[in-house]
C-alpha cells in the first residue's frame, strides 16, 4: 500500500548554489500528485530528493525534512540505498538494461539486491509485475527476448514493471510520457490510474492536460528569475488548480500566458 510523504522546509543545494527554496508539501497516500511549472523551476529536483537520487551529483545536499509515513528519509543512519528500495522511480526516457531480457529486466531489482529467488517465485513475480504494468499480454510469448527490442511505450511500461517488482510504497515518475507517442502515452496514463490503488504516485509533467487528466493534486513550482532558486508557488487539488486557482502566477501559467 502507498505511504504519505511530508516535505518540511526543504532547501536543495548543488554545491553553493541553492536550486530550490523552502518547500513545504504534503503528498497524500494512494493519490496521484503532479508537479508542474516552467523549465528550471526545480520540480524534477524536488522529485529526485524524494528517493535521494539527487545525491548522485557530487556536492548535492539538502536541508529540511522529508518524511515517508513519518520516518525521516534523511535521518543520520539512513542509507540512500534503503530509501530507494521503498521509493521506486521511472525516468523520462525508458532505460531497460540492454544486456538483459524482458524477464531479467523485471527481476533486476530483486536479483541485483542479491536476493535468491526460486524459479517459480520468479515466474510469478514476472507475471504479476508485467500484468500490473499492462504489458503481460503483449510480451508473455517473448519474455526471453531483449528488453530493448520493445517499442518506446512498451519499454516505458517495462520500466514501470521493473520498478513495481521491488514492491515500493511510492512511485516517482519524471516526465514518463514526454518521449512517447500519443497512443503509448494514453496506455501509460491508464496504467497510472490503476497503480494509485497500490502506490502513492508523484509525477513530474510538462503537459498540463496530462496533469489535469490523471492527477488528484497538483503542485505548481515557479522561479522568480533565472539563476534564482525555484520554490513551491501553489498547491491545490487538481480541480481547483485548473478551474479556479487562488494564485495569480499559477493562473497565468495554466492559461498559457508564460512558461
Amino acid at each position: 500500500m502507498g505511504q504519505r510523504i511530508d516535505i518540511e522546509h526543504l532547501n536543495i543545494f548543488y554545491g553553493d548554489f541553492k536550486a530550490v527554496e523552502d518547500v513545504n508539501l504534503n503528498i497524500q497516500s494512494n493519490q496521484v500528485t503532479a508537479f508542474i511549472g516552467p523549465s528550471g523551476c526545480g520540480k524534477s529536483t524536488v522529485l529526485r530528493t524524494l528517493d535521494r537520487m539527487h545525491e548522485i551529483i557530487p556536492g548535492a545536499h539538502i536541508t529540511g525534512k522529508v518524511l515517508l509515513e513519518g520516518r525521516d528519509l534523511y535521518g543520520k543512519r539512513v542509507d540512500p540505498v534503503a530509501v530507494r528500495r521503498d521509493v521506486g522511480m521511472v525516468f523520462q526516457r525508458a532505460n531497460p538494461f540492454p544486456t538483459m531480457s524482458i524477464r531479467e529486466n523485471v527481476l533486476a531489482g530483486v536479483r541485483l539486491n542479491n536476493r535468491k529467488i526460486s524459479k517459480s517465485d520468479a515466474d510469478d513475480l514476472v507475471e504479476w509485475a508485467l500484468r500490473g504494468a499492462n504489458l503481460w499480454n503483449e510480451v508473455k510469448d517473448r519474455l526471453n527476448k531483449p528488453g530493448v527490442g520493445l517499442s518506446g511505450g512498451q519499454q516505458q511500461r517495462l520500466c514501470i514493471a521493473r520498478a513495481v517488482a521491488v514492491h515500493p510504497q511510492v512511485l516517482l515518475m519524471d516526465e514518463p510520457c514526454s518521449a512517447l507517442d500519443p497512443i503509448s502515452t494514453l496506455a501509460v496514463e491508464d496504467l497510472i490510474n490503476e497503480l494509485k490503488h497500490d502506490y502513492t504516485i508523484v509525477i513530474v509533467t510538462h503537459n498540463m492536460q496530462q496533469a489535469a487528466r490523471i492527477a488528484d493534486y497538483t503542485a505548481f513550482f515557479n522561479l522568480k528569475a533565472v539563476g534564482k532558486p525555484g520554490h513551491l508557488e501553489y498547491f491545490a487539488d487538481t480541480t481547483t488548480m485548473f478551474n479556479n486557482p487562488q494564485n495569480e502566477e499559477a493562473e497565468r501559467y495554466i492559461s498559457g500566458r508564460f512558461g
Partner: protein
Amino acid sequence: MSDRRDQRLPGQSQELAVGGVADADKAMPDQARRQAVATAGGGQPNRVQPSGTDDAAPVIDFDKFKPTRSFIAARKRKDLLMRVLVFLAFLMALIPLISVLWTTLAAGIKRLNWNFLTYNMSGVIGGLQTPSGGYGGIEHAIIGTLEVTLGAMVISVPIGLMCAVYLVEYAHGGRLARAISLLVDVMSGIPSIVAGLFAFSMFSIVFGPGTINGFEGSVALSLLMIPTVVKSSEEMLRIVPGDLREAAYALGVTKQRTITKIVLRTALPGIVSGVILAIARVIGETAPLLMTAGFISSTNLNLFSGQMTTLPVYVYQEYSKLTVTCPADGGAGCVSSIPMERAWAAALTLIILVLVLNLIGRLVARVFSVKTER
C-alpha cells in the same frame, strides 16, 4: 558585362579605363593585371559614388575581384598536385607494409611446419638435422610467450580495469583523477627498454642480484600494458549511458553491484576487445624480455624460476647468429643459413599470432557489442 556597367555609370572615366584594361588583358599574368588595375584605379578603385544620391551604399565593381583564368588554373594545378601527393603518401605506406608481410611470409613459410612448432632448441648442433628430422624449433618460445603474457595479463587487467572504474565511477574529475589520467597517458609512452630495466632493478633489489625468470618479464610487460587497458576500459565505461546507472540506483541497488552487474556487464565486449588488443601489443615486445626473462634452449614451464625464452627474443637471438658453419664433410642435411630461416619462421609465427589476436579483438567488439541506443 562591362558595357552595361559603363552605361549605368556615365562620367566615371576611371571605371571605363579599368573595364578596358580588364577586357583587353584577360590573358595577362595575374601580377601584371593587378598592377594595371591599381594604376588605372587611381588609388581609390573600390569606392565609387553614384551621381545624384549622396548617402547610398558604395557601388562596387565586382569584376575587379574576379580571379583571372590563369589564377584559377594555378589553383586547379595546385589542387591536383596535392591530390597526387596525398595519394603518393598512401602508396608509400603500402610499400613497407607489403614488403614486410611478403618477405616474412615468403621466407618464413619454408621452415614453419609441425616439427618446428613442437620441438625446442635443446640438442640442436649447428646446422645439422636433429634426430626428429627437423632443425630445432620454437615450442619453448611459444610456451614462454604464452606464460609471460598471461602473467602480464593477470597483473594488468585487474589493476587497469579497477583504475578505469575509479576514474569513471568514483573520481568525478577531481584533482587526483586528473593527475592519474595524465600519468596514465605519460606512462603509455614509457620506452619498453625502460620497463625492462625497471623490472630488472626491482627484482635484483627485492630478490637479490642476478634474478631472472619469466615473471620478471611479466612485470615489465604489465607496466606497458596497464596504460592501454586503462585507456580502453575508461573509454568503454564512459559510453555506458548514465540512464542505466540511475535505473539501477533507483531500484535500490548498491553502487558496487550497479557497477559490476550493470556498467561492467554492458561495457564487457568493449573491455574484452581492448584487453585483447593490449595483449597483441605487448606480445611482440622484445627489449624488456631480453634482460628479464632471458634465453635458454630448453623448455621451461615454471614462470617463477629460471630463464624463459619468448618468441620475439628467439627471433632476435637467431638473427644475431646469422649463419652457422657446417663441417667440411657436411653431412647431407647441414644447412648453414638455418638461423636466419628459423628467425623468419618464428617471426611469421609471431605475426600470425598478433594478427589473429587483433582480428579476435575486433570481432569481439563488433559481434557482442551491446546496443545502448542514443
